[in-house]
């Protein structure tokens, strides 16, 4: 799997109402990598993800998946949304099976793979429950299992834990990292949370807003054997603080200070 973006620009609207949201975005993802895009709101990071998913088209530039341009959505690029996007009328198991049944897999294979992926996310006991009967964290785990079960070559994660409260978010981050470590999936994570990005991703792109562009790229070489310890590791905190300062500098351009009273 090789995904490459070259000089991708995106403008919404036309004429005087036109608004450029992405300015010459270029980066690559190779098989098995975990890459993160970090930026404040308005940095267009979600737009990048939608372009890769094929849900929107770039105004200019090319996005290639294994050398072929992306023309629309497909199951080779799985997506997990910030908002819980499970089908509320389907049980957890039926949600996981959903993509496979869309693709017309034989019923036996669907059953086996559903069981397998529910086990991967540790929710085999919740198979028969409806989404509304699951906690937020459990719902996102089902959403991840559902995306994995559709057999993607790359997983696009759009602020997957943004709606969860802090403690659950931390355990979900560890869960996602272990999942990546174990299954060798390829992942692109979109987040505004620097810690989250640095914890998991080997490469972090920092995006600036208005228009969205990549201003800095960091290769992280960190010991990830214990994420809990890594969170408070001195070198980790230094890198994080350095990037946080960079992000703060970017957002100060955008915010006009209040006039004195």
């Amino acid at each position: 799997m090789h995904l490459s973006l070259t000089a991708v620009c995106k403008t919404f609207g036309q004429g005087r109402a036109a608004k450029q949201v992405l300015d010459t975005i270029s980066f690559e993802i190779n098989s098995g990598e975990f890459v993160a895009l970090v930026g404040s709101s308005g940095s267009g990071k979600s737009t990048v993800m939608r372009l890769i998913a094929g849900l929107d088209r770039p105004t200019s530039g090319t996005i290639l998946m294994d050398g072929r341009p992306i023309t629309g959505p497909g199951h080779d690029r799985g997506m997990v949304f910030q908002k819980y996007s499970l089908y509320p009328w389907l049980t957890a198991a039926d949600n996981v099976a959903f993509g496979m049944t869309l693709q017309g897999l034989p019923a036996r294979e669907v059953r086996e793979r559903t069981g397998y992926f529910l086990e991967v996310v540790g929710l085999q006991d919740a198979a028969g429950r409806l989404p509304r009967e699951l906690s937020g964290g459990m719902q996102q785990r089902v959403a991840i299992a559902r995306a994995l079960a559709a057999d993607p070559k790359v997983m696009l994660l759009d602020e997957p834990f943004g709606a969860l409260d802090l403690q659950i978010r931390e355990s979900m981050q560890e869960f996602l990292y272990q999942l990546w470590n174990r299954t060798g999936l390829t992942a692109l994570l979109i987040t505004h949370d620097l810690e989250e990005a640095l914890l998991m991703a080997q490469r972090v792109h920092i995006m600036a807003p208005h228009p969205g562009r990549i201003v800095r790229t960091v290769e992280t070489e960190l010991d990830r054997s214990d994420l809990g310890a890594l969170r408070v590791d001195r070198r980790f905190l230094e890198v994080r603080e350095d990037l946080a300062r960079c992000l703060r500098g970017l957002s100060q351009e955008a915010v006009t200070p209040l006039p004195p009273v």
Partner: protein, 258 residues
């Protein structure tokens, strides 16, 4: 006023107050009728209405009328449900179809369906077809627009998730849009059923050999207000049963949404 805890709990049952409201009206009705202050011809007593109703029922007329009316409603409304579902989904999910049809439907919707009766009689005579068609055209556009609105509010994430799992357009309509809107569709059907029930009575008042509306118009000719009251109550009761049936279907089929 102080109520004991037990009584208060019993009053809290959702049906208690509703039944109480109906009983109050019945008692008031009985009192006014018994006082003799209103002419019996205008206001028959509850007992008189009950007697008139049972006389009609024993003669088999009530049942025949009810079956005739219900049959027309079922025919016309089934057709309306059948056509409005794909039409509403098509309009809600396709911008071109929506722009093409929405002004047209918006216009026709404001033409009162009973005003079509003379035309329908000219086209199709006095048989069952014009009555069924009246119910069909009188409810089709309401159903369609309500279904269209439901489709427009399907969350984008649900559609896009299916797309990123390899879903094709038709699959998304049948496997995401349709199940998601099912509760709203059933509810729209339930609400607009009242219009179907209105229209069948109107159609029968104009021209019919039997039916609940026809019987009311005959009773008027003979000044049988007790029969009119009895038939009105029967019409209300049948409507209520149909409403409850739709609620039951909703509860049975869309457990996730309740």
């Amino acid at each position: 006023m102080k109520l004991s805890a037990g009584l208060r709990r019993r009053l809290d049952h959702p049906w208690v107050l509703g039944v109480l409201g109906i009983l109050t009206v019945l008692v008031l009705w009985q009192l006014i009728a018994a006082s003799g202050s209103v002419d019996r011809l205008f206001l028959p007593s509850p007992a008189g209405v009950l007697a008139a109703g049972s006389a009609q029922a024993e003669a088999g007329i009530l049942l025949a009328d009810a079956i005739a009316s219900i049959g027309r409603v079922l025919g016309g409304y089934a057709l309306s449900m059948l056509v409005s579902l794909p039409l509403g989904i098509a309009m809600g999910s396709n911008r071109i179809i929506c722009r093409l049809l929405e002004p047209l439907i918006g216009l026709i919707r404001y033409m009162p369906a009973p005003a079509f009766i003379p035309l329908l009689i000219i086209y199709f005579g006095l048989g069952e077809l014009p009555k069924v068609l009246l119910i069909f055209i009188g409810t089709l556009f309401f159903n369609t627009l309500m279904i269209m609105d439901a489709v427009k509010f399907v969350p984008a994430e649900l559609l896009e998730s299916a797309l990123t799992m390899g879903g094709r357009r038709l699959q998304i309509l049948t496997r995401v849009v349709t199940p998601f809107i099912a509760p709203q569709v059933i509810d729209a059907y339930r609400i607009n059923m009242a219009a179907a029930w209105n229209l069948v009575i109107v159609a029968e008042l104009v021209a019919a050999n039997e039916g609940l509306g026809k019987r009311i118009s005959l009773a008027q000719r003979f000044l049988r207000t007790d029969e009119i009251f009895a038939y009105l109550i029967v019409i209300g009761l049948i409507g209520l049963v149909i409403d409850l049936l739709f609620r039951l279907v909703l509860r049975r089929t869309c457990r996730w949404a309740i």
